[in-house]
Symmetry: C2
């Protein structure tokens, strides 16, 4: 066992898309767990779009990552040492360790993961924060009703694929949006979307709107928002009266909107909310971890039985996390993006 | 009793602010009530900002008024003839008659008004659609809690003054926005706002935001939206986490936004909704008339006792309705705008 650990720090703030220069690979001494803390050797870490937001120096859910600070991430691994009776060496645990090879956290910030119940990677995706985000946002703010129509983008990602599958099980027509023919085929064949549109096939929001209109002959009742930009502009005029828009992300606008989406103005948004009596709710799952046991009780059996499916895209090595992250932001991943650390 | 009636029709659609040429004064034969219908001679009609939206040829709550069609309005008056057992000549009734001297409506579209319970004009304002709008939007979507801070514009109007008084009674800090020193004094002295800001005193949204920040030291929990534009731009960055924005109007944007509010972009709205977990709900009171008895039971006694106050601005004569309407859209009225017809 090494006396050292590795981490990836924020070297500088990106303008627009992150580049390799925004990250630095650092080596430091392995930390010693303090009172009540647990030392974990991480096996897998998660890469998610929200991390892009943390790289900006702007008010968000949480304080931004400081320059020189460790990039944030959820990660899962094996306990090496514990100063808490709740964890023993050899146990597996999930926590917000960051982009690191090892980390210490207080035991009450960790969740035990049972490696005999299936691959521990699911704690990062379908049974982790992304899965909980889709489940919570759809049920709490989407309020799905059988016979309605739902639209979600990033349809093959860990949030979109959960939303689509849960909505389909609830009796809704599900229309996905994804980037590329291969992802669209995956959305329909693996995740059961009724239709999936390739946003790259449409030159602008108007063209995408026309295709969405054809795919949603009864209009759109729920738009699960995780991308904003062109998709939002295409969707808004198609929303039905009393429609719902849960907002958990806006990946196309992280780092600022670059003069695109010119017809998507503040008055257009506000007018649609008013004249169609829309309910628009922003949320971030860290405020709703109290719902985790309810989610697990309902969804874990559906994962075990294969009734809800998931897909993972696993990169190798902490040193490759920045490249995997940058590729993911451009849609290069196929399924939940994870980094294997050991 | 004349055999004729008068009405005001939409002569042409306005571009921006309406002008006298957009209206025409018409005389026609007094209608005869059909089966189940009631003929009413109107005494008072209501003028409200939503009517501006109806003049545009665009999707709104309802179909726009057709060229040559009668302008819409709620009005209250005396029954002249009735083909329904529910109404007798001499009864008073409220209904959506329009800008007219007389009108026929089915009895089931009318509400009886008791002239012995107070002035019949309250059926157009504090105990009519504007009062119900404020009460419903505040309770259903604003979810006020004691100790929170509420902001509402058009604070001396029939919706804003109801919202402010109900919120104050619920233990909130209430901050109004109005146009002019006289309205601001009225808001504080008559309607009990803790502070009222004169939006005309602030050159732009940034200056208004600074004043609002000082008036709301604990941030804003509820922004009751009826104006949009500069006020919305000033308010959004001051919203607290888990804030609520009921949206019942956007008077500053009717007829289109004129290149103002340049910093109020779609991404700014969406980002605030996301990172502060806001709940934004559009609504229009015509979908919630089933709540009217609940409202009356709760609020009518508070009007009778003087615990909730109201103010009316009464213009004289149907022929002067267009001028009163145009003045109201520019903030020229003081209290609920009504037109006396007889």
């Amino acid at each position: 066992m090494s006396d050292q650990m590795q981490r990836i720090a924020l070297a500088s703030r990106p303008t627009g898309a992150p580049t390799a220069e925004n990250f630095s690979f650092e080596t430091s001494v392995l930390p010693t767990p303090g009172p009540g803390e647990v030392l974990v050797k991480l096996h897998y870490m998660s890469l998610d779009p929200y991390m892009r937001g943390r790289m900006d120096d702007a008010k968000s859910y949480a304080a931004p990552v400081a320059i020189g600070g460790t990039m944030e991430a959820g990660a899962v691994g094996e306990v090496l040492a514990s100063n808490s009776p709740a964890f023993q060496p050899g146990d597996f645990a999930f926590g917000m360790f960051g982009w690191v090879s090892h980390g210490c956290l207080p035991a009450n910030q960790l969740q035990k993961v049972d490696p005999n119940q299936g691959p521990i990677t699911v704690a990062l995706g379908v049974l982790g924060m992304p899965g909980l985000t889709g489940w919570y946002g759809l049920n709490e703010h989407g309020k799905p009703k059988a016979g309605e129509t739902l639209v979600v983008a990033a349809a093959t990602g860990p949030v979109g694929s959960m939303v689509g599958q849960l909505a389909k099980r609830a009796g809704l027509r599900t229309v996905g949006i994804a980037g590329g023919a291969d992802k669209c085929a995956l959305a329909v064949e693996t995740f059961g979307f009724d239709v999936c549109l390739d946003h790259r096939s449409y030159a602008d929001a108007a063209a995408l709107r026309e295709a969405l209109g054809a795919a949603c002959p009864d209009g759109i009742d729920i738009y699960f928002e995780n991308v904003a930009g062109k998709v939002l502009e295409a969707v808004l005029p198609l929303m039905n009266d009393f429609g719902r828009i849960p907002v958990c992300g806006m990946i196309s606008w992280y780092g600022g909107a670059k003069g695109a989406d010119a017809d998507l103005t503040a008055p257009m948004i506000w007018r649609n909310i008013l004249v169609k009596y829309l309910s628009v709710n922003g949320f971030i799952i860290m405020n709703h971890f109290d719902q985790y046991p309810v989610f697990m009780k309902e969804v874990a059996p559906l994962i075990a039985s294969g009734e809800i499916r998931y897909l993972e895209d696993i990169a190798e090595g902490l040193e490759n996390a920045p490249a995997a992250f940058m590729a993911m932001l451009k849609g290069g991943n196929m399924g939940k993006q994870i980094v294997k650390l050991v």
